[in-house]
């Protein structure tokens, strides 16, 4: 019993004093933990494989880590990474803004709006992104000039197509418009996941239609939208590398230009890979906090962030070491860890005092 109330205790409980034996019939017996030989074998196998990978990374000169280190912060690589961030951000904004509009159209009662939204998704999901990018880049061939005016009527403003849809413009159009087709489905699924009673309650309170969507339905839909949406943004981040076909200076294109010149293909691919890894990590961290934000109200109490957990655990560990009380900002569930020993001791004495047969 004593061992059970001490979570995380590795060593079996020491033989209990004789008086405890009177309390419970088992308390004088030593507890032997269950053995897991399979787990040990698997762990050892994976450890060996890991050692092999690390050793080959370090000992194989062809990785040329010095070249990787040299180019990792090369100005043109940095500008390429920045271009990738800009492309991803712009295409995400275009994609999700248009995607939300398409999702709302799809849920509307007008058959034309539903049809157009459906057709958009159908076309943009069906045509390969690479092909779409090249088509947008050649927009100037189809329409040399763009103008603003009344449909079928007079025109007020004229643009040179090439002036508006340059490489960056074509990349944003291609990535954003195709992203919108996917985002539309994600947003629609999110909206459908919100309990019908929510909109009904909003309607019964007379809350205006637009406010029902922005204040009541969408914030709740976000909870199921965010994880999938971040997946899409990460996909988009990596997808921007496809824009190298337009010779636009994003991360991958810059890396390929450099290795085309100096022949250090593998190190430069590694440089690009490291940057994609860093950017994806940043997005994942943002995702964690965005998800937490929208989880408010969906769970009774939010679980602590890894950062909070680290801070509280170290505060508890310090308190245990120094014997001082746990600081007040540590929640009771964490503070309890510092008191485990004390708790079990009290529990045992209590049993001895009251639990034993007379």
């Amino acid at each position: 019993m004593t061992a059970v109330t001490t979570p995380g205790a590795r060593t079996p409980a020491p033989p209990a004093p004789a008086q405890d034996a009177a309390a419970t019939p088992y308390s004088h017996l030593r507890i032997v933990p269950a053995r897991h030989p399979g787990r040990w074998v698997a762990t050892a196998g994976v450890a060996v494989l890991l050692a092999m990978v690390v050793s080959s990374l370090l000992t194989n000169d062809r990785w040329e880590w010095d070249v990787v280190a040299q180019y990792l912060t090369w100005p043109s690589i940095l500008s390429g990474a920045w271009a990738t961030i800009r492309l991803t951000a712009a295409a995400s904004v275009v994609g999700f803004a248009l995607g939300t509009v398409l999702a709302l159209m799809r849920l509307s009662r007008s058959p034309l709006l539903v049809g157009v939204s459906w057709a958009y998704t159908w076309v943009f999901r069906s045509v390969p992104l690479l092909l779409q990018l090249l088509l947008w880049y050649n927009l100037a061939y189809l329409y040399p000039h763009l103008s603003l005016g009344i449909p079928f009527g007079p025109e007020f403003l004229w643009f040179d197509t090439l002036g508006v849809v340059d490489k960056f413009g074509a990349a944003i159009l291609g990535l954003g418009l195709s992203q919108a087709a996917y985002s539309a489905e994600i947003v629609r699924a999110g909206i459908l996941s919100v309990d019908q009673g929510q909109q009904e309650a909003a309607a019964s309170l007379g809350i205006p239609r637009r406010r029902q969507v922005t204040r009541i339905v969408l914030p709740q839909a976000m909870r199921s939208i965010v994880p999938t949406a971040v997946n899409e943004v990460i996909g988009l981040l990596k997808g921007t590398s496809i824009v190298y076909v337009l010779a636009y200076g994003e991360l991958f294109y810059i890396a390929s230009v450099i290795y085309g010149r100096n022949g250090k293909v593998v190190p430069l691919l590694i440089v690009a890979a490291i940057w994609y890894l860093v950017l994806t990590t940043l997005i994942t961290i943002v995702q964690y906090y965005v998800e937490r934000h929208y989880a408010k109200g969906a769970v009774r109490t939010l679980p602590p962030t890894p950062w909070q957990r680290l801070r509280w655990s170290s505060a508890v560990a310090l308190a245990r070491l120094t014997g001082r009380p746990v600081p007040a900002h540590v929640p009771p569930a964490f503070a309890a860890r510092a008191r485990v020993g004390v708790l079990t001791r009290t529990a045992r004495t209590a049993t001895t005092r009251h639990g034993g047969p007379a």
Binding site: Q198, A201, S204, L205, G206, P208, R215, Y294, K296, G297
Partner: protein, 277 residues
């Protein structure tokens, strides 16, 4: 949004002589199932009407039709003489002046609903908003009232339903009974003339029913017109001015509780009461 504001001046405070509900010839079918078959009902201002009946008898549909959450096939509802969901209008047809019922725009219907509060069986609180935010949302966005006026009033309402200390909690952190009390405060925040309760205690654990019924009794004492669909016969006997028994989509009988509950005239009423008492 501002247009809605001017269209809906705050309703008179509870206790005024408003809140008369008239239901005429209501019919509603879902597919081939006829849920309401020619329902007539009059609810006098400031009274409490309890609607009883077996499940599937059309009680909830009737309630939802009163605030136009459910569009009916025939018949109409008026609150203080105003048609709900329609407006009388003159138009010209074939050179003659004719009177028609113009279906209202959604915005106008939303405006009408601010005068008819609704409390749901499943509370339907907004889980992502705090209790206070739940209560002030509609007065702010539907009635366009200033926050400085709405918030103290909301806190007062929360105190009245015994939840003054829960203003910053979120609905999921509350018990079912507390959630339903918040839902009542939320409905009251619009100062409705009529308050509709759709089985307000059916989703609650038995020991939480009492606290919600107490709050409803308190609201009843302020003179707001209440229509309550419930299975709580004791509540009906104690609080109701009028009891309506529905079965098969029609009103079988209506009268004071002493009559309908103790001396029912219809066999169907008697059979139902035998089962639930």
């Amino acid at each position: 949004m501002t247009a809605t504001t001017t269209r809906n001046p705050p309703a008179p405070a509870p206790g005024g002589a408003a809140g008369r509900v008239e239901v005429h010839g209501l019919r509603k079918s879902f597919g081939t199932l006829e849920v309401l078959r020619d329902v007539d009902l009059t609810v006098e201002p400031g009274t409490v009407t309890v609607v009883l009946g077996p499940s599937g008898s059309g009680k909830s549909t009737l309630l939802r039709a009163i605030n136009h959450l459910e569009k009916v096939d025939a018949g109409f509802v008026t609150v203080d003489g105003d048609l709900v969901g329609y407006r009388r209008r003159h138009t010209r047809r074939g050179g003659r002046r004719v009177e028609v019922l113009q279906e209202l725009k959604e915005r106008e219907i939303l405006g009408q609903r601010t005068r008819i509060g609704f409390v749901f069986q499943n509370f339907n609180l907004f889980p992502h908003l705090t209790v206070l935010e739940n209560v002030i949302e509609a007065p702010l966005s539907a009635q366009g009232r200033p926050r400085g006026e709405v918030e103290p009033e909301a806190r007062e309402l929360l105190a009245r339903v015994g939840l003054a200390d829960k203003a910053d909690a979120r609905p999921r952190q509350l018990s079912g009974g507390q959630q339903q009390r918040v839902a009542i405060a939320r409905a009251l925040a619009l100062r409705p003339r009529v308050l509709l309760f759709d089985e307000p205690t059916s989703a609650l654990d038995p020991e939480l029913v009492g606290e919600v019924l107490e709050v409803i009794k308190d609201v009843a004492s302020t003179g707001t017109t209440l229509v309550v669909v419930t299975h709580e016969i004791g509540f009906a006997r104690e609080v109701a001015d009028d009891v309506v028994f529905m079965d098969g989509g029609v009103v079988v009988e209506q009268g004071p509780p002493s009559q309908v509950l103790d001396h029912p005239r219809h066999e169907r009423t008697r059979a139902f009461l035998d089962k639930v008492l």
